[in-house]
Symmetry: C2
Amino acid sequence: MAGVKRIPADVIRRQLEAVFRTWGMAEDRIATTVEVMVATDLSGVDSHGLGMLPSYADRRRRGIMNMQPDLKIVREKPAVALIDADRSIGHPPSVMAMKLAVEKARACGVAAVGVRNSNHFGAAGYYSRMAAEMGMVGMAMTNAPGAAMVPTFGLEAMLGTNPIAFAAPATKNPPFSLDMATTTVAFGKLTISKRLGKAIPEGWALDEDGQSTTNADIAHAARRQLPLGGDRERGGHKGYGLGTMVEILCAVLTGAWADGVDDEGRPKHTDYDVGHFFFAIDPSLVRADGEFEDDMDRMMDMLRATPPADPSKPVMVAGDPEVRETEERTRLGIPVADMLIEETRAVAEECGAEFLLA
Amino acid sequence: MAGVKRIPADVIRRQLEAVFRTWGMAEDRIATTVEVMVATDLSGVDSHGLGMLPSYADRRRRGIMNMQPDLKIVREKPAVALIDADRSIGHPPSVMAMKLAVEKARACGVAAVGVRNSNHFGAAGYYSRMAAEMGMVGMAMTNAPGAAMVPTFGLEAMLGTNPIAFAAPATKNPPFSLDMATTTVAFGKLTISKRLGKAIPEGWALDEDGQSTTNADIAHAARRQLPLGGDRERGGHKGYGLGTMVEILCAVLTGAWADGVDDEGRPKHTDYDVGHFFFAIDPSLVRADGEFEDDMDRMMDMLRATPPADPSKPVMVAGDPEVRETEERTRLGIPVADMLIEETRAVAEECGAEFLLA
């Protein structure tokens, strides 16, 4: 197993800023993007923070990502809007979209904002948590570039890992915060297992012949992941259905789908024109002030009080591991795999940014 | 295995009407409720149509269901509303709520309507499909009376099977229509397996001691189902998270939660004050007219064209089995298990309604 080094969040922050500056991004968008990425690393979601930088560099190199995009609201109604991201890196248009959804929800009760023509936006959970921190129930989804999920009964991957994130504020507790790929695991988990040289559990992925595999290299190359649930008998068609729902809201509804199919009706997987979908509800327009948040506390406390099957493993609520991880990583630094440190060095060298993770 | 008899939809319709009339329901609410229940039986969801009648009779007998409720809108904003169902059977307030959500979405782009103080509303998929048939993207959820789902790492059931339904219209295809419990299977599947004397697959449910069981009687009595995904390693915490999301939207947000906890913070499972959540988006306010529906056709056709792992089992899209089943059952009648026929006879005899399934 390869080594891992603890690096302070602030060093990672400055490393990302240095790279993005040489890429020609505007300062306010650098600030937004770095904030999302570092918060994600702090929360323990290693696959979606700094770990994405090599892939972003690749997309920039291939001209898929536009570093000076013109973010435009192209449709707008009282409770809905559509943003064209002009091939931006996904984080700035996503923060813009969730802010707009929250603002509209304060007036209307609920609002949804879609984004098209975007790119990878990091961790979906950042945006739903952002809404919760503004007092809203929030939801965030994205279609994921690259086919990864094999539909139930299928042999080939047709959809991305298409995550769903949902958050809700409480009075005393940190927000309830769910962030899940609709595949059994996020593709990033295969990348991490590959990077660390670890085997993966049965039921996560298939090989090129559609057979179950425990080899992370083979699974990573084949990109044939099982939907949440696994096989048909254990509900895999539900994970497939949820992944399709995300595709409908993020890609079909926003028009990100427009370039998604080739002449034979097969997905193009061109790695761009990613779409996102954000959703906010103002609980103070449904319940009396504070009632919702108080009941959230009662529900979260009740769930944590479930008698555990194994006393050493208490029952948690979505968001608990991330809160604990953020506390620990803020204190001890963010663990970064040697391979990712070297990949980051290569990105910095290529664009002439200072390398700070040494 | 017990016997099954094919009964024409119209006979089941008249049987339900006869029972509801003796229960004192208003004619328009009988029509609504019977329409939802028979459409559900026709679509193959045996657990949520006529199969619920014995349970409804029980809830009426225990005074949990009010057959002459006063359905009231208690909060209203441009894109959101809250309905108090006055302990109604769930179908009429749910149809009212989805109609209101669709009407508001036509003006605002998106809208959400919650219902509290309700009861079992049948199949969630009926309401999302109803929105799709009105040209909307629709979503419907309910918290389910009775604890069934064991949280990840837990020993006891704490949440219901809390289903999520989602539908979207297409131009040529019937709507995409997903309707899924957030447990591996709907509780009704355990009821059906029990009724038919069939074993259940490993991974669906636990026994009283928290051990996996394949005995439908034991699983039905224990009410300890696994969340979608199963164990932690295979993503069961995601199913648990989705179930909690449904509880938050349907119960905590609507205030159906208010009576949900006893003095020690444990769920009361009082079998009433069920909450629902409905959500509609008008795609014509986001895309140009017809574009969304055309792209839905392309996506659904693309998914069905996925090369299958086994040529005798083609890849389907959510809603396909229900469309096929509705066509077949409209022709051949609805298969009803002998035990359910006898249970229906008992319900009819108790309230003095004519028995028509003989």
